[in-house]
Symmetry: C2
Subunit: 210 residues, 2 copies
């Protein structure tokens, strides 16, 4: 674990903190599609992402979803931070988008380190900032753009996170994450294909130029 840790966080955290993380943190590996946090869960430890990606989702009254943002390597979950400290339930669902490796930190350490390590404080604040910014981008998408533009942003984002221009999703899955219907997604994807921007196949979308 130590080598992984150093690789990802050595430029951020001082050595003493790295050592502490190595001591109290536990390594966790999750497979693609595995659920990490469910809405309503109490959160008892805080994740540091070493490898992979996690998607964060919000749910409506009917149980339908909306993708909020992705967590990537070097990120932590801002929701978890506040949930831990405030003893409140999770407002979101977290699902592994790729096979993912993370370190779980007991919440007691959170508060301790915030007083003790300046680098930890900066990390935490930076995380909040990144998450708030991503939430704003999500709001922009929903409030200011039409579904065709949102779909393009979604595909671009997906490509970036998975680092693969071949997206292995069904139209139904995309529809869930954009909180719309399969028919609408099919319609808009077809339009993108006829413009030569993507190539459609069963269970996959190849991005040509977006």
């Amino acid at each position: 674990m130590l080598t992984d840790l150093k690789e990802n966080f050595t430029h951020i955290f001082e050595d003493a903190l790295i050592a502490e993380i190595n001591e109290v943190g536990t390594l966790k590996e999750v497979k693609e599609g595995e659920k990490l946090i469910e809405i309503g869960d109490y959160v008892r430890s805080m994740p540091l992402l070493l490898k992979g990606a996690i998607k964060i989702l919000r749910e409506d009254d009917d149980g339908d979803e909306l993708l909020l943002y992705f967590l990537e390597r070097g990120d932590t979950c801002a929701m978890t931070l506040t949930c831990c400290l405030g003893q409140t339930k999770s407002e979101i669902r977290a699902i592994a988008e790729l096979d993912t490796t993370l370190i779980m930190i007991p919440i007691q350490k959170m508060e301790e380190w915030t007083g003790k390590y300046k680098s930890w404080r900066n990390f935490v604040f930076q995380s909040y900032h990144a998450r708030l910014t991503e939430m704003l981008e999500t709001i922009d998408s929903i409030a200011f753009y039409n579904m065709d533009e949102r779909l393009v942003k979604y595909l671009q984002n997906k490509k970036k996170v998975t680092n693969d221009s071949l997206i292995n999703s069904t139209h139904q899955e995309i529809a869930y994450e954009l909180h719309t219907s399969r028919v609408v997604v099919s319609r808009l994807l077809k339009k993108l294909e006829s413009m030569g921007k993507i190539e459609l196949n069963r269970n996959s979308i190849k991005i040509i130029a977006l």
Copy 2:
């Protein structure tokens, strides 16, 4: 200032911190409608709200707005926190919704107090949590509800913040904050009036039962 401070924050902050705030903070009063922060501004100090309310807005490419949430008594601006520390520009606009009194804290103190006072840390984390939660509610509104329901939520929220069931806004102003058009707002308000839930007059809306 000290009495105001104690009245609002004494149950949150230890005495030593109250004293420090009193020493380095400067009192600021803004009139309703006055702009506090513009998008792109660098933020050099952090506000603590003693009285009144501030609305936080996001802007689209055409210069049109969307209301994100209100800050009220006892709140601080989470965006400011991260902007200060990260030296980044403001992503949002802040305008006084009511006549408002606030204390401005120089940003250097922020970092210092976060290491020094546990109560300050808790306050900052709680602020982040509150703001994230409000952002989620905003996302829910936009993504999951129709305009008629968003309008109702808007009116309820406005009533709560101003503590007045008479809302002095034009339809155009409401349309801006919901990022829609005046015609749509007039249409939906008329429908609410015909259901006996509100009463419409020039420049004002009286909430009967929502």
